[in-house]
Amino acid sequence: MRLPPHVSAWTVSALLGLLLWLPGTLLAEPVRVQVVEPFLELHTGPGRGYPVFHVLESGDKALILMRRTEWFKVRGESGVEGWVDRAQMERTLTDAGVSMGFGQVLLEDYLARRFEIAFVAGLFDKEASVGLRAGYRLGEYLTAEAGITHVPGTFSSSTVFNLNLVSNPFPDWRISPTFTIGAGYFDNVPQPTLVAGEEFSGNSALAGIGLRSFLSRHFVARVDWRRHVVLAGDESNREYDEFSAGFGFFF
């Protein structure tokens, strides 16, 4: 946050350099498929509204170059390139003679589904807060989660770091309940304009309940209520309630 401008400028340009180098290195092997339906429609862009400008016919071969959300970029034998939606892509055959198949594409996504990242916003002890959650699925029912919540309040700016275990006993429910316990660190810095502000920090623990709803296969809406207990060092612990709502995605 307090980097001198020239250091930040160097960081940005180094990152930019990295970005320009990335796409070349991440090219995966293209997958070859054969069209078995009467035709495969190629759209000009990865979206419903883009017009169909070309069709590949039954028996034609095509290369899948990449996937963006639910759209696949393919190249026909003539060299023409276009975007095909998932529903049509699943009805093609790979070199092995097997269908890309609903099951297989879904399975691939499901198996790849290990990490979850979510953005949340809410109220922490009646002050607006914003947070980031990163989860790693340990199994079907359990997720390890690291969270950071920032509360830029009226009198002080608090930051809570947490490591949580989130239990999700009914992962296949449309709206599925979660139970969270965690431990962490709470840091409270008074706003500099406040004269008599006092900094305090300490270890903290939390317990919470929440709801998750799978809006689509990668997209999750979530709400949480969490109670934080901060061990501030003096006789009394401080307790804060946090309500948050947000969106997450799996990859």
Binding site: P23, R67, R68, T94, M100, E127, V130, L132, F219, F249
Partner: protein
């Protein structure tokens, strides 16, 4: 007639006797059985195709950030987005800028310790591609594009003081290549500012140009 009956009976009896050993025989466990016929089939190795998915976008931006009651200063930063579907994406942004109290200093009422102070912000946003489309460059080129709306929440730190920030934005994304994105973003960062002594809601527009890659 009698003879034929006897023959039938004996036939039935022999067939019954013949089946008895079959019932009595305990089949061997499957793993100990020798395969009767080795199938001359070549089984194709089924591999789930690894398709290059490009749903992440990172971009660097430069622009102008105007802070209410203060001037407009250059801003630069980074954004990282994940495209959830053709309609929605989530994006985290981080930006650096500065704030100057030159006008107040000229009047003899400096507000900050030094004339130029640091500004840093971050926000987390949800965006919706409201008008996906194509832009045409000359006669022969068409690039995929989208106009999107976003709402977000975050923080802005001005002279070491944190303020919770809401933001709304409108943006244009053009993809000259499938992995390369050009962005133009207009955002309003809204927060309660007490820099002039009294807390009030301020509107702080930002206009930026960005260059990004998908991976």
């Amino acid at each position: 007639m009698k003879g034929s009956m006897a023959m039938l009976a004996s036939l039935m009896l022999t067939s019954l006797v013949a089946t008895v050993p079959a019932y009595a025989q305990v089949p061997e466990p499957r793993e100990r059985q020798e395969p009767v016929i080795e199938p001359a089939l070549e089984r194709p190795e089924v591999v789930i195709p690894r398709i290059d998915t490009e749903n992440f976008e990172i971009n660097a931006f430069v622009g102008l950030l105007s802070i209410e009651d203060f001037g407009t200063q250059p801003v630069y930063g980074l954004r990282a987005a994940y495209h959830l579907s053709e309609n929605f994406f989530l994006e985290a942004s981080f930006g650096l800028s500065n704030i100057q109290d030159s006008s107040y200093r000229r009047l003899g009422i400096p507000l900050f310790e030094s004339e130029t102070e640091d500004v840093a912000y971050y926000n987390l946003s949800l965006a919706y591609n409201i008008f996906p489309g194509e832009v045409f460059v000359g006669r022969g080129r068409a690039y995929t594009s989208a106009i999107f709306l976003m709402i977000g929440a975050g923080n802005i730190r001005i002279v070491d003081e944190d303020e919770f920030t809401y933001s709304v934005g409108l943006g244009l994304r053009v993809l000259p290549r499938d992995w390369l994105s050009l962005r133009m973003d207009l955002r309003n960062h809204m927060f309660d500012s007490d820099l002039l002594g009294q807390s009030k809601l301020t509107h702080n527009p930002e206009l930026s140009l960005g260059l990004g890659v998908y991976f």
